[in-house]
């Protein structure tokens, strides 16, 4: 009895202890790490080998466009677009300063959210990539021959160019929808509380020159005051239409977090731009006064020009019927993506618990049979069910964006549940899901927004990095993941850091871009007003208090490298021409105390650094780009004398002379 009881008691307490230990051990460990089989070999690009795709990744708050290779995730270049770049002198050289000019003057920074690669017949053609400036509304065109910003156009009547720069099938138009509605026209000084009455939105259609890519605001469509978020052009059967997601149909002007999320449905705005063209051709547009700049870079003069424009053509859809329609879309739609067939439009309500997929055919039928539930700001609202193909049920939390593969599948990013969900566009069935690290924003499938996606990979561009890489203090790089989507299951194969804050990105086969890449600028085509096409053409010229130095750079000297006759109060312009005609031999130029940056001059190019000396003395200048074995010898001096001195302009290279003023020994 006693012994038995002892055992029983021991057993009882032992079990109790064991249970409590097990209980603690059973605590979930958090999400398991993803292990991958031959992932390394799939993302591996051997030394000297090329990546299969270029990945154009928006730089977000760095204002630039970042170029990566896929599948390696290697960063090749950061193209300066909306932010100045002291490395290349973009925004600092006299030639590039006009590129960052706006109606608000020189703006040194912006926030680039979305790249859009030019297309022909709905497929990437590798000519240009466009980018939007979210803060001071602009659209830029980058030439993929030079990987340089070729043109920037400002958008009047816009407050935050977020819904941009999405393009039509043949790059007829690049669009720009305003994120913030703003008061416009003559009446802009109004109380903020008069939002409903005075604030309007605009959607700008920027035409793109077929050959030269030149941008021009063809027309603006005035809309009720809402926030436009993202957009996609129709393609194939829906070519001629454009779809814009909009939120804040509550028309809130404060605490949008609460006040703009009250309605169950906001809208996708469908625009029949062919109809808009008809109205425009029929003279139904109204010219409105506006002030905006158009900047472009001439590759022959190596110089940008900034032009101020004063009017813009506007179309009013409340008067011009059959051009604009609203389609209800659940809870603050963010992404608005058309599938490769052009039939389906996917609206991603960032607060919705489902994904609605609209049918272009049904939208047309609904319009034809006037299945409207009313109007919003004088624009008909199509009945939700009438436009709906179907809903993806319980896909995840916080759907943001959708890309497509060539097999009828869609890939949607989910910010809140931090995952990519693969689903079938027709059947709306969820097929697979993978976690992202962490909180994905945009995603990219090579060719994903085109009529012929290349598939193969999906890349997650995440908003939160945390513990993915070696820590670098409170400020971290951004994290991206590359997944193989060639099989039924998505498979993580690479985790790579990205710079700035990537939003959208597009990927294009390297074969469409690389063969056209410019290696040098031909010196004989250089029409810069201060070019020196040879050392014998170098010059130093005084024009009042300006001193213009036409300088050349070639391995391994600058001509002239001894300059005298500059006086205090002068503005000195170093026009440096790189005489090299060989690939990858840039020269740099910097001078002590310059209040701007360096120049980085490509072969055959001329760039100008303005320098205003503040003291007298002799100042060194040198080549900043390690160009040759004797790079460290590539240097010179410039002498600055007092304002009232009468030292004549004098310049030379390789000339030694007896010290001036030396009088020999007494």
């Amino acid at each position: 009895m006693k012994r038995k009881t002892i055992y029983r008691s021991l057993f009882l307490f032992g079990t109790l202890a064991l249970v409590s230990i097990l209980f603690q051990l059973c605590k979930p460990k958090g999400p398991a790490e993803v292990t991958t089989g031959n992932a390394a070999s799939q993302a591996y690009v051997a030394p000297g080998k090329y990546d299969e795709f270029y990945n154009f990744v928006s730089g977000g708050f760095n204002g630039q466009m970042n170029v990566y290779g896929l599948p390696s995730g290697r960063l090749f270049r950061i193209i300066p677009v909306f932010s100045e770049d002291p490395t290349s002198g973009y925004g600092f050289s006299e030639e590039t300063k006009p590129m960052l000019n706006t109606s608000h003057g020189y703006v040194p920074w912006d926030d680039l959210h979305h790249p859009a690669l030019s297309t022909t017949n709905g497929e990437h053609d590798g000519r240009w990539v466009f980018g939007n400036a979210n803060n001071t509304p602009r659209v830029a065109r980058i030439d993929l021959k030079t990987f340089r910003t070729a043109e920037i156009i400002e958008l009047p009547n816009s407050g935050g160019n977020h819904s941009s720069p999405f393009i039509t099938e043949n790059t007829e138009y690049v669009v720009a929808g305003t994120r913030f509605s703003v008061p416009m026209g003559d009446k802009t000084d109004v109380p903020i509380s008069t939002y409903k009455e005075n604030f309007k939105g605009t959607i700008s259609f920027i035409s793109v020159g077929k050959e030269d890519g030149k941008m021009k605001i063809a027309f603006q469509i005035k809309t009720p005051g809402v926030n436009f978020d993202l957009a996609r052009a129709g393609k194939g059967p829906s070519h001629g239409w454009f779809f814009f997601s909009c939120y804040n149909t509550e028309q809130a002007y404060t605490l949008l977090e609460v006040n703009s999320t009250q309605k169950d449905k906001d809208f996708i705005m469908a625009v029949n731009w062919k109809k808009a063209e008809e109205y425009l051709a029929a003279g139904k547009g109204e010219k409105a006064k506006a002030k905006y700049v158009h900047n472009w870079y001439d590759e022959k003069t190596h110089t940008a020009t900034s032009e101020m424009l004063n009017e813009v053509m506007q179309l009013d859809p409340t008067v011009l019927k059959d051009m604009v329609y609203f389609i209800p879309c659940p809870k603050s739609p963010h992404g608005c993506d058309t599938d490769p067939s052009g039939e389906y439009i996917v609206g991603s309500g960032k607060l919705a618990a489902l994904i609605p997929v609209f049918s272009f055919t049904k939208i047309q039928q609904a319009i034809a049979s006037k299945e409207f539930e009313g109007d919003f700001g004088g624009i008909p609202v199509i009945k939700y069910e009438a436009a709906l193909h179907g809903e993806v049920k319980k896909p995840g939390l916080g759907p943001l964006h959708t890309e497509f593969d060539a097999n009828g599948n869609a890939y949607t990013s989910f910010f809140v549940s931090s995952e990519i969900v693969k689903w079938n566009v027709k059947s709306l069935e969820v097929l697979d899901r993978v976690p992202t690290y962490y909180s994905i924003g945009h995603l990219c499938v090579p060719g994903g927004p085109t009529r012929k996606p290349h598939g193969k990979y999906v890349i997650a561009y995440n908003k939160i990095t945390k513990d993915r890489y070696l820590s670098t203090g409170p400020e971290l790089t951004q994290s991206a993941q590359l997944y193989d989507i060639s099989g039924d299951k998505m498979k993580l194969i690479l985790d790579f850091p990205t710079t700035g804050e990537p939003h959208y990105a597009e990927a294009i086969p390297a074969s469409l871009v690389m063969p056209n890449s410019v290696k040098i600028f031909k010196i004989e085509d250089n029409n810069h007003p201060y070019v020196a096409k040879g050392e014998s053409k170098t010059n130093v010229e005084r024009k009042g208090n300006q001193v213009h130095i036409s300088m050349t750079a070639i391995r391994s000297h600058l001509t002239p490298d001894n300059i005298e006759g500059v006086k205090l109060g002068d503005e000195v312009y170093f026009h440096v021409t790189n005489l090299e005609q060989d690939w990858d031999v840039p020269h740099g130029f910097a001078i002590k105390g310059a209040n701007n940056a360096e120049l980085l001059i490509m072969p055959g190019e001329t760039q100008t650094l303005k320098w205003k000396p503040l003291t007298t003395g002799v100042f060194p200048f040198y080549c900043t780009d390690f160009c040759s074995a004797l790079h460290q010898e590539m240097q010179g001096y410039i002498r600055v004398s007092p304002a009232n001195s009468n030292i004549p302009i004098k310049f030379s290279t390789g000339k030694t002379e007896a010290p001036a003023g030396a009088t020999g020994s007494k």
Binding site: K2, L16, S20, K27, P28, S417, E419, D467
Partner: protein, 194 residues
Amino acid sequence: MTSIKPTSRVIIVVASLILVAGFFVPLWQILMWAPQYPEGLEMDIWYNDITGDVKIISALNHYIGMKHIEVGMFPEFQYIVYIIWFLIGFGLLVAISGKRFMVWLNAGVLLITGAAALIDFYLWGYEYGHSLDPTAAIIVPGMSYQPPLIGTKVLLNFTAFSGPDLGGWFFVIAFCLVILVIILERFFFNWKKT
């Protein structure tokens, strides 16, 4: 009235004093993981306080309309300390009196207090998980967010775990010690008499 053995008295004193340790460690813990919180978020409940990543949890939960967690939402904190002191005092009284039925009473009081605490916690969790702001940004139809009473539960993108922390285990140990005394008294110390 049967008196208990000195060993039992000592055990009862230990059982009482162990509750004092609860003033220095949390009573209960709620842990949360999400894909973007691999390191997890932690909330610790003390006799009269809530600590841990409460602000982060509240900031996340407000999107789905949950209330901000703050000490003020637990009126219990006002008097839980007195209950604990009562339990300690009562335990000591049991040890001093040395009456067997007092030991039973001690076990009963501890059991009732523990059960009441769990019921109270459940009711708070129910209220916290169900009383949602109708103007919340994210409203998932039919979804409520009551944290688990004990164990693990998946709530949207979060996996939540709820269970005793050190202080809670001390409470369990205190109760077990009292039960041990009962067992000892019943089967061992007085077995000759029975």
